[in-house]
Amino acid sequence: MKSYLTALQAIVFREGWRFINQRSRFFAALVRPMVWLVVFAAGFRAALGLSIIPPYQTYITYEVYIVPGLCGMIQLFNAMQSSLSLVYDREMGSMRLLLTSPLPRGWLLFCKILAGTIVSIVQVYVFLALAALFGIDMPAMGYVYLFPALVLSGLMLGALGLFISSTIRQLENFAGVMNFVIFPMFFLSSALYPLWKMAESSPLLRDICAFNPFTYAVELIRFSLYGQFNGAALMWVALSFAVFMTGALIGYDPARGMLRHRAVGPK
């Protein structure tokens, strides 16, 4: 058991160290949601009327509405960034160190996504502190309840990133995946507008949003910020985590997944 924790600690430290040393990544991770919050939300405030929907018990401004979505966005970008670094590690060879360790491969891959989740949680809390400076704050206990929700949503998105990385043959293919994953996941969710608002324009789009696991990650975050429990969101996020993690484990299984398929064709 101790050896498992030793590996976890080292992988988390490595991920954290890399994040701190990539200053542009740290900067971008904070600027991106702040631009959405301060510029986009301010412009949208007048255009978008919000009714009182759970977990809110009063009218809220649009800036307040999109904060959980932006927390989710931070985690989504971070997960995709980790996924990119996994593909890079695989191309550069350092992934081999991980894959040839005698510890179970599933555990090491889980450590990888947990490390990414911890990095993303730090970013979310720094973002929330900046948002509070702009006067957009949440109930005090909400920041505490938020933590477990972020762990689960971070793991789910991290597992998705891991799964994607296991299906990508080359680094060059990654940009396409970013466009096909990040943007649809973000825009077809409840991050920027509530689902009832989406239904007004298109019931089909609403249904797609209701199927998108990112919607539930955002709702889990939203409810937890107000100290409320959203069982459906929790279930959906947990189920998505299980599905993506299973896919990733198959992808990184030398007998079945991508590692074997990568061998096909001339070297």
């Binding site: 550069m92 081999r96 991980l98 590692l259």
Partner: protein, 244 residues
């Protein structure tokens, strides 16, 4: 005592057979060179030995453990130096080694002791605090060899470890690793350079995915040059293939 056994292993990339019925048995305390030209199947064999690929055809046993049935025990007995460097360049030498030790489940004073011993064995102790980026190619390679020894494996695999190094570094590393085999470690060294092989070494000649010969270097070259013996073997097989 046989410590490393590859039996009837085959592997294909689609219709192309990269390894064809490969069988190799090796004993502890030996230096065995896997000699083959580029494209002979050396890297494929290494990927199978490190379980990055798996095959259903044949079996691989390392230190008595079947790689398919007991992968964790088999991998724990294996130290690997990949052809491609696998280092965090902006981390110190010591940190890179500590990270690897952690992936092997080693920590604290125990890991430190092993790291210090591995660095000392490769004359790298004074460089422990340097960033890997500041090391030259030869020292980076030495560091990777030191790292591969931290968990005290019984078998050390090296996939063309001297590629891209200057002559001096190549000789130093080849000498170091030959010395390691004197301590009871089995060294399995893939190369296409015959000058890295000593007369007393075992040589496995791999060509087009098949083992052409497995014997001591001095008996393989029978008084002549190893290079000539190697050329004769591979061109004979080529002629057989061409004749159909």
């Amino acid at each position: 005592m046989t410590i490393f056994s590859v039996r009837n292993v085959s592997y294909s990339y689609g219709p192309k057979k990269a390894l064809d019925d490969v069988t190799i048995d090796l004993e502890a305390g030996r230096f065995c060179a896997l000699l083959g030209p580029n494209g002979a199947g050396k890297s494929t064999l290494f990927n199978l030995l490190t379980r990055l690929f798996v095959t259903r055809e044949g079996s691989i046993r390392i230190a008595g453990h079947d790689l398919a049935r007991e992968p964790r025990k088999a991998l724990a007995a294996l130290g690997v130096v990949f052809q491609q460097p696998t280092l965090d360049l902006d981390m110190s030498v010591a940190w890179n080694l500590k990270y690897f030790a952690a992936l092997q489940g080693l920590s604290g004073a125990h890991a430190k002791k092993r790291i210090d011993a591995a660095l000392a064995r490769l004359d790298m102790s004074e460089r422990a605090r340097e960033k890997v980026r500041e090391l030259n190619g030869g020292h980076r390679r030495r560091m990777e060899i030191a790292r591969a020894l931290i968990h005290e494996p019984k078998v050390l695999l090296l996939d063309e470890p001297t590629v891209g190094l200057d002559i001096e570094s190549r000789i130093a590393i080849t000498d170091h690793v030959h010395d390691l085999s004197q301590t009871g470690l089995l060294v399995f060294w893939a190369t296409h350079l015959v000058d890295e092989i000593r007369p007393s070494d075992d040589v496995v000649v791999l060509h087009r995915g098949r083992i052409l010969k497995h014997e001591r270097a001095d008996s393989l070259c029978a008084g002549g040059r190893l290079q000539d013996a190697f050329k004769a073997l591979t061109s004979r097989q080529q002629a057989e293939v061409d004749a159909g």
